[in-house]
Symmetry: C2
Subunit: 253 residues, 2 copies
């Protein structure tokens, strides 16, 4: 925590003074829900300026001390506030720094000597892009398949043609087989899959735009999840990426 | 052109007046080189405000008439300037609107009833992400493989183990086999591949950070290209994505 308190400096009235601040990021819950949970807490800290920045699937909370930065109180109060927020948000909090969700997940995978492979349909490679934004990602990311067509799901991931026919490409059954298939194909410890309808076209009454299924395959077994996400094409896709990465983070912890 | 001239409006001195402007975007050349080529042209148009925005691999040029927006001269001069710029930049210009390079490529592929598949190493899925940002991309994008490991290059794309051994994963030989392999695996008309060293780690004297090989496989034959790109990890990766997409755009035109 020392680095966070001492290093960030801003100019105030021609003097350089330290800014006492804390930072945390949360994932895995709707941004509005996170805000509703933390607002009653930070409202009790009038000496702390709270800034909330959200992108689809990620909420960043910044707490800055308004008063004398040299007072002992600053550190004590900020620590207390952050502890309250963490107690409320629990495992949703994934970092106290600026690092990305993919970087945090990468570190966890590395620490456990686990590797990950991805099978992406509606996200089209975005999860792989986020993972490989992280320098040194080849240590934990083995690669993936962008299975934008039914043929790719069948031929490259081993999804059963009869299940594609019966349940459709956007289904829990297919998500599960994609995750298991990519884990096996890439000889990875973790297989993660996504199939969904990002829109604006392709929605149907029983599967509207924003319907997304995730699959997770681990040595101990396979799981699937259904999501119904708000927003346009970009928001649905980015939220899907973050929810999927966060799911792996929670499951391997 | 009518829409571009009439629709954009800004408030000036409480009146709403049309802004006479033109826009074009270019790819496939270093941004500084594009600027050096067009500067002698737009410098001769003092009544036009030129704004140049560049991101790795893409240059956006905006030309706005400074004078009376209702003058006949505005349209004539802007058209003349844009024609001069286009004559200079040639095929590097890919659009006169805000649409992305991936969207322009998608439209060309669709118009020619061609499909594309991608094999990505150092870009990690980013090319797939850019292609699937485009709504309706399943009409022209069949999917891809993120072959971050040697095993994936060999097992999923059919790259020869002996060539991986002899030339290394980052080589023209491997790029060529990746493109041909992904084209065949996805039964696509066009196979596009990328393998390179995005850094900051992994550079060697003979293959420094920024060394990237592209492969393009078409019915009429296969080609490869070597790139040596400046910048950090993100810039190398994004520039690679744009150069790769632009290469396909030029080759299918």
């Amino acid at each position: 925590m020392v680095e966070q308190c001492v290093l960030p400096l801003i100019r105030r009235e021609r003097n350089i003074v330290p800014v006492r601040s804390r930072h945390l990021k949360a994932a895995g819950e709707a941004e509005s829900k996170v805000d509703a949970r933390v607002e009653p807490i930070y409202k009790n800290y009038p000496n702390v300026e709270t800034t909330i920045l959200s992108s689809p699937g990620i909420v960043s909370l910044h707490f800055t001390w308004r008063g004398d930065p040299f007072s002992k109180e600053a550190e004590t109060v900020l620590d207390e506030l952050v502890n309250h927020i963490e107690a409320e948000l629990g495992h949703s909090v994934f970092t106290h720094s600026e690092e990305s969700l993919a970087a945090v997940l990468g570190n966890r995978l590395r620490a456990r000597s686990l590797t990950l492979a991805t099978a992406e349909s509606c996200t089209g490679g975005w999860i792989g892009k986020l993972l490989t934004d992280v320098s040194g990602s080849s240590e934990f990311f083995r690669g993936g398949v962008v299975s934008y067509s039914d043929e790719a799901k069948r031929d490259l991931l081993g999804v059963r043609a009869s299940d594609l026919e019966q349940y459709g490409a956007v289904s829990e059954v297919v998500a599960g087989q994609m995750a298991a298939g990519v884990r096996s194909r890439f000889q990875a410890d973790v297989g993660l899959s996504v199939t969904g309808i990002a829109g604006p076209e392709g929605g149907r009454p029983e599967k509207p735009v924003g319907t997304v299924y995730l699959g997770l395959s681990l040595a101990r077994g396979d799981q699937t999840r259904s999501l119904f996400l708000p927003g346009g094409r970009e928001a649905v896709r980015l939220r899907t990426c973050h929810l999927a990465l966060d799911w792996v983070r929670r499951e391997i912890t």
